[in-house]
Symmetry: C2
Subunit: 189 residues, 2 copies
């Protein structure tokens, strides 16, 4: 196995674009080579199998999703409902802005229904994130409890999926920021 | 174009299975022929193009999702929060039970990010459904207003996607029925 970390990252970034553009079944080693502008065969030198490529892309999604330090600081110091709304508006805006990354994640989550290795990896990762959110929420003194975090998690995921895949459905209900405020007020208010 | 309605329906049902099993890019005329056990070339006699097949499958999803008359009656006569919870538990259970249909819909919604015709068709259909839900909710006297219906719609969609794609994530939080009750109480209570 070759292991130039910079090139590996470039291949994983290209795989994310391939997933978003073509879907999970459209992702091939050859397509990643093309999108990353590397010689044909490079991707297959970095990843031993399709399962390995998909699992590493899934892990790389979280690198690409990572919030900047300012956002983490605002989240840690939020304590009122209005601050919770602003924090959630920031999270949703970041995920929607990183459109390819979120669409690639949805493709991989559907692919995970067919690939146990991928399903296990995603499940562990999402559970960790959710546990960290529950702990962070409790520590912050923001309104609501564990249930609030769980309901916000599914509701905001549903909203992001709607806005990315069918942006016309909720267009008359307000901007994404307004919809996030509506959800958070409704769940945590 | 051939137009034996029974056979057309069988082809559309097979296409739903193909989408759920293989993803949007895995769906081919040839695969639908195989799954429907019809002679090779049959599917291409019924649908002039891939866009036509995908658009007709999208419309057929709603036939396969249709509630039975009992469920519609319960929904129409519900007026308390507990009745709203039971109605929503019924809706979510029905959609999760029709696993292939829901997964096929998610595949098509992602495909819709790349196909304007499909996006337009889905957007109109989901907007109609949502408007009917808002009207039905207002007429029933159930707790909550238009915003409640919108927030319930995104939250329950998020919950269904989670339970279908990564069932282990919320496994410790309760059964799907309990999670639906949690969401509805949180949003409409």
């Amino acid at each position: 196995m070759v292991s130039n970390p910079g090139r590996r990252t470039a291949l994983l970034d290209a795989a994310i674009e391939a997933l978003a553009d073509e879907g999970a079944r459209g992702l091939t080693f050859r397509m990643v080579d093309g999108l990353a502008s590397v010689p044909l065969g490079t991707t297959s030198n970095y990843f031993t199998s399709r399962d390995e490529l998909l699992t590493q892309v899934a892990a790389h999604l979280y690198v690409r999703f990572a919030p900047d330090p300012d956002e983490l600081e605002r989240a840690a110091s939020a304590s009122t409902l209005d601050e919770l709304i602003m924090v959630m508006q920031g999270v949703v805006a970041r995920l929607i802005e990183r459109r390819s990354v979120y669409l690639a994640m949805l493709e991989l989550r559907l692919e995970a229904t067919r690939r146990p290795v991928l399903q296990q990896m995603f499940t562990e990762r999402v559970r960790e994130d959710l546990a960290a959110n529950v702990a962070g929420h409790a520590a912050s003194g923001m309104p609501g409890d564990r249930s609030t975090v769980i309901v916000l998690y599914v509701a905001l995921a549903g909203l992001i999926i709607e806005q990315l895949s069918l942006p016309g459905v909720l267009a008359d209900e307000g901007s994404t920021d307004e919809l996030v405020a509506l959800v958070v007020r409704s769940v945590a208010g």
